[in-house]
Structure formats: C-alpha cells, structure tokens
C-alpha cells in the first residue's frame, strides 16, 4: 500500500498524510494491528521534513487511528476503522457555520467573531 502527496496542493502536507492513512484504513488496505513506517522512513521517502510527518502521526494518534508502542514502532489502532470513518471536520464545520450565522444575524462583526473564537479556543485549551 502506498500513499501519494502533492507538495503543490493547497491542502497542508500533514493533512494529506492524515487523510491518506485514514483512507487506506477505510478501504481495508491496512488493517488494525498493522505496523506503520517510522517517522524518519516516511519523511525520507516523501522527501519531507520529519516534523511534518510527526505532526500527522500526532494527529492520528490523538484521533485513535494509530498508536505508538515505543521502540516497537507505530501500529494501526484496534478502533482505527471506526475512528477513521467519523468525519469530524464536517460536523465541526456545520456547528461553526450555525454559530457564525447566528452571531452575524445578531449584528456581530467578523473581527469580533474571530477575536471571540480565538478567546474561546484559548480558554478551552487551558
């Protein structure tokens, strides 16, 4: 199984990696428990900075699509299939659109929405 990225695609490189690994899981090309290449190997094969691949792996790990087992390497998570199918982006986008529309109807300006959004994100991350 191979993944292909396009360095001139407007989609960020780490997102392309995340999407392609999820797509490989959904199409059963890689299965739960399968081992994945190391960050260094994938970065060198794709001629990318290893930080980009590390970021993609971190996001996949956070979404419980892959799991790191220390020196043994990185593996596809047992619940990867289910976690790869859920399109969180669509859900989040729909919620945000609803909130933005509501704010705009109430007369809130774009910059006020952006500031409020950043403030909400920052306070949630604390």
């Amino acid at each position: 199984m191979e993944i292909t990225i396009d360095i001139e695609d407007p989609m960020p490189l780490f997102t392309q990696i995340v999407e392609q690994i999820k797509s490989a899981i959904v199409s059963n090309k890689i299965k739960p428990g399968d081992s994945l290449p190391s960050i260094r190997q994938l970065a060198n094969d794709l001629e990318l900075n290893s930080k980009t691949v590390a970021k993609a792996y971190k996001l996949l790990e956070r979404d419980l699509v892959i799991q790191s087992k220390g020196y043994r390497g990185t593996f596809v998570h047992p619940d990867a299939l289910m976690n790869s199918k859920i399109d969180m982006n669509g859900e989040v986008l729909a919620q945000l659109n609803q909130a933005i529309t509501a704010c705009k109807s109430a007369g809130v300006t774009d910059s006020e929405i952006r500031i409020a959004f950043t403030h909400a994100m920052n306070s949630n991350n604390k």
Binding site: E2, D6, N44, D45, L48, G73
Partner: protein
C-alpha cells in the same frame, strides 16, 4: 615451489576476476542499457548526455587495463624475488591485499559516478507528486535472523580465538584488528540504517526495485561480515601456527570472495529484464 605456483594461479585469478571479468560484464551492461533504453525513450535515465556516460565508461575501461598491466608486472617482480626466499617464510603477504585495494578503485569511482547521476536526477525531477509505501522496512524483512546471528557468532568466535591464541593478552595487533572490525561493522550498520530509513537516491525508482536492491545490499553486507571474520580467524591461525607462507594465499582468496559476493552478487541479483525502466519514460509519473 608448489606454494608459489598456487599463489600465481590465485593472483592471476584475482587479476582476471576483479579487473577483467567483472569490469567487462559491467561495461556490457552499460552498453545494453544505452542500446535498449535510449535517451529518446527514457530521458529521466540520462540527467547528462550519453556522451558523458560513454566517456565515463571508457575511463573505467582504461583504468582497469592499467591495473591488469600493473598486476602482471607485480607477478613478474614476485617471480624474480621469490626464488630468494624459503617456502615457509612470510613473503610479500600484503601484495594481494594492497593490489586488491587498488583493483577496487575503479569500482569505487563508478559508484561515486552513480551517486552523482542520482543527484542530477533528483535535481532534474520537477514532479510535485511523491509516493511512499506504508509498510515499515525492518531488518529481518530483508535478511534472515539466522544469517545475522551467524555473522555475530563469527565475530565473537574471532575475538575469542584471537584472545585464546594470545593467552588473553590485549596486544597492539589485536587492538588494531578490533579497531578495523569496529570500523567495517560501523560502516555496515550505517549503510543498513541508510537502506532502511534513508532517502531514496533514485527519485524515479519503482518501489519493487528499491526493495530488491535493499534486500541484496543488506544480505551482501551480512555475508561480507561473515567472510571478514573468517578471514581474520584464518589470519590469526596463520600467525599462531607459523603458516606465514599461507597468508598471501588467504589474502588473495579473501579479495576474490568479496568480489564474487559484492560485484558478482549485484550483477546476478539486479538483472536488466527485471528492472522497471518505464519509470524513466518522459510521460510517466513516479511509481
């Protein structure tokens, strides 16, 4: 006298094998590639003009011819001088070793030229699309654990054997051998890590060809490690049992075995009809 005849046969075989037979095979292969996969159909294969490739090939050919002549001169000098020596004496034992190193210079230059070609290929590669496999490359996917364990056992055997015959004294000779052993194995380990996780030298190479190349390289390094340990054990045995006259024979055999495994193995493992040359066509994307 018989030991001298044996040496002549082996040294002649060393000259022919490393400086005539394998270079001829390599040159035939270069010609075959240029003939069957010309720049018009496979432009990605030629980051430089074919004239430069032909010039490099001729330089390689000339260098090997010079080495063959030097080899024959050395045989003549050896024949002239060896009559003065007793058959059980150590005589010119470094000759096959030093000459063997010289014989490998054209191959090293050819390798360096290959690296330069790959660099130019990478520079000329304008594709924005990049592909990678999702299977990890692990050592034991390419070489059997038995081979690796055998190589480790042979290194340990050599260390124990050398210490045993020297009554467990760390002599300066032993320390030099340890240093050489570490240097050679450090290089092998570094090259293995590079093959497993390093950058792809040829940006167009098909993944199947890369897998095959990695497999062959790692396996030949493991076998070279085994032969190196055997060579060191034989060297120590020669010293311990006062078989000095055998050293020159062992040195010549060692270089020929390395050539058979390294160069011969590459030529056998990487066959042109098995290589995917379609990736070098202008209208194809990287596979």
């Amino acid at each position: 006298m018989s030991i001298h005849i044996l040496f002549y046969v082996l040294f002649l075989s060393q000259i022919i094998l490393i400086s005539y037979y394998y270079p001829k095979k390599i040159i035939n292969r270069i010609d075959e590639v240029i003939k069957n996969y010309p720049p018009e159909g496979y432009p990605k294969l030629y980051p430089e003009s074919t004239e430069k490739v032909v010039a490099a090939k001729k330089r390689y050919q000339l260098l090997n011819r010079i080495i063959i002549i030097i080899g024959f001169i050395l045989i003549a000098i050896y024949a002239r001088m060896s009559v003065d020596y007793d058959r059980n004496d150590k005589f010119a034992e470094g000759l096959p070793l030093m000459f063997g190193i010289v014989q490998y210079i054209p191959f090293m230059l050819l390798e360096l030229s290959g690296f330069r070609q790959f660099k130019l290929m990478r520079k000329a590669n304008k594709s924005t699309s990049r592909t990678a496999g999702l299977a990890p490359r692990k050592l034991f996917n390419y070489v059997s654990p038995i081979s690796v364990v055998t190589a480790i056992v042979l290194v340990s055997t050599y260390l124990f054997f050398d210490l045993y015959i020297n009554n467990f004294n760390f002599t300066s000779d032993f320390l030099i051998k340890i240093f050489t052993l570490c240097l050679v194995h450090g290089l092998f380990i570094g090259l293995t890590i590079f093959h497993l996780t390093g950058k792809r030298l040829d940006p167009h190479q098909a993944s199947k060809d890369r897998t095959q190349q990695t497999e062959f390289s790692i396996q030949s390094m493991v076998f070279c490690s085994m032969f190196f340990s055997v060579f060191l054990i034989a060297g120590s045995a020669v010293e311990a049992y006062e078989l000095g006259y055998m050293e020159i024979i062992i040195n010549s055999i060692y270089f020929q075995v390395i050539a058979l495994v390294g160069i011969g193995g590459t030529l056998r493992a990487v066959r042109l009809d098995n290589v995917n040359f379609d990736v070098y066509k202008a209208d194809k994307i990287i596979l």
